[in-house]
C-alpha cells in the first residue's frame, strides 16, 4: 500500500492539528500526551483559564477513550482493532478542536445518542443541575459511567457536543466526537 504521507501532512496542516495519535490508549500514553499538550498551551501564552479549560476537557475526552477501550477484551483481530482509537487536537481562529474516534458496539448507539442529544438540548443552568444530580447519585461509580464526563464537557465549553457514527460491520460502529473549546473568551 502506498501511503500518501504528504496527503496526511497537508490535511493536518490545513486543520492546524497540534497533536494526533492513533493506536492503543494506555495510562502512560495519556500521561505523555497531557504533558505535551500542557507545554504547548504554555507556549501559546493563552490566558490561565483558557489553558485550564482546554486541559480539563482534554483529560475528560482522553479518559473517556481510555475507559471505553478498556471495556473491550482483545481476543481476535476484530476486538484488537476495537481497542485502538484516534485522537487529534487542532486550533482555529476561535476554538481548540478536540476530536476523538473509537469503535463501539452498534447496539450502544441509541443509548449514547439519547444521552448526547439530551445534553445538547440543555442550557448551562440545566447542565449544572444535571451534573449535581449525577454526582450525588449513588449509581455513578468513580470508574466513570453515568455520562458525567459528557455533561462536564458540555458545561465547561458551553458548546454542543458534535458526534457521528459510521457502521463498520454487523457488530461495530465507529464513534467520533468533536468538542470545541473557545479560546477567545470574553472578559
Amino acid at each position: 500500500m502506498d501511503l500518501d504521507i504528504f496527503g496526511f501532512y497537508d490535511k493536518m496542516e490545513e486543520s492546524n492539528i497540534l497533536l494526533s495519535f492513533k493506536g492503543e490508549i494506555t495510562s502512560d500514553l495519556l500521561t505523555s500526551i497531557l504533558q505535551i499538550m500542557e507545554s504547548k498551551l504554555e507556549n501559546f501564552e493563552e490566558k490561565s483559564r483558557t489553558k485550564k479549560k482546554v486541559y480539563n476537557v482534554l483529560v475528560e475526552c482522553l479518559q473517556n477513550l481510555y475507559h471505553h477501550v478498556d471495556e473491550v477484551t482483545a481476543v481476535d483481530d476484530r476486538t484488537k482493532r476495537a481497542r485502538t482509537a484516534i485522537f487529534m487536537i487542532g486550533k482555529d481562529d476561535e476554538n481548540y478542536n478536540i476530536m476523538t474516534g473509537n469503535y463501539i458496539l452498534s447496539e450502544n448507539i441509541d443509548a449514547l445518542t439519547t444521552k448526547m442529544d439530551r445534553v445538547n438540548s440543555m442550557s448551562i443552568d440545566e447542565l449544572k443541575i444535571l451534573y449535581r444530580e449525577i454526582l450525588n447519585n449513588d449509581q455513578f461509580s468513580a470508574k466513570g459511567g453515568g455520562g458525567l464526563g459528557l455533561v462536564d464537557i458540555a458545561r465547561r465549553t458551553g458548546q454542543k457536543l458534535g458526534y457521528n457514527f459510521k457502521e463498520i460491520d454487523d457488530e461495530y460502529s465507529f464513534f467520533s466526537l468533536d468538542i470545541k473549546v473557545r479560546h477567545k473568551l470574553d472578559d
Binding site: 490561565s48 483559564r49 485550564k52 479518559q63 450525588n136 468513580a142 466513570g144 458525567l148
Partner: protein
C-alpha cells in the same frame, strides 16, 4: 493513628492528613484514570479519624485540575467529613481555594457546597 503524607504526582494531589493537628489537606491535581484506587485509603483514614477527632478540624482543598472520576471521590471525602461533623465532636470548616479567574473551579466548589452540609468557604487566591 498515623498521619498520611503523599507527595503530588502529575496525576494525583499532595495529601497531608494529620490526626494530631486535625489538619486535612489536598493540593494539586487529581486526574488519575482510576481515582478510587487512590482515594480508598484516604476514606478509610477519615473513617478512623471520625472516632476521635480533634476539637477543630481544618480542611484545605486547593485543586488545580480534577477529572469527573475524582469528582465522585472528592464528594465521598466530603461526605465522610460530613458524617464526622454531624456527630458534633469537632468544629469543622471546608476551605475551597480557587485561582481568582478560574470560574470552573469556583463553580465546582459551589457544586460541593450545595450537596454537603459542612460549613464551606470558597477562597480566591492569586494566580501562581
Amino acid at each position: 493513628m498515623e498521619p498520611i503524607h503523599i507527595e503530588a504526582t502529575p496525576k494525583t494531589p499532595l495529601v497531608n492528613f494529620d490526626p494530631l493537628k486535625g489538619h486535612i489537606e489536598l493540593r494539586g491535581r487529581s486526574i488519575p484514570e482510576n481515582s478510587l484506587e487512590f482515594y480508598k485509603s484516604l476514606l478509610d483514614w477519615l473513617d478512623e479519624y471520625g472516632n476521635d477527632p480533634q476539637l477543630v478540624t481544618n480542611v484545605e482543598v486547593q485543586l488545580e485540575y480534577f477529572n469527573t472520576s475524582s469528582s465522585k471521590c472528592i464528594l465521598d471525602v466530603f461526605k465522610a467529613l460530613e458524617g464526622i461533623h454531624k456527630k458534633g465532636k469537632t468544629d469543622m470548616t471546608i476551605h475551597w481555594y480557587y485561582e481568582e479567574d478560574d470560574e470552573d473551579m469556583l463553580e465546582a466548589g459551589g457544586d460541593y457546597e450545595a450537596i454537603v452540609t459542612v460549613p464551606f468557604e470558597k477562597i480566591a487566591i492569586e494566580e501562581e
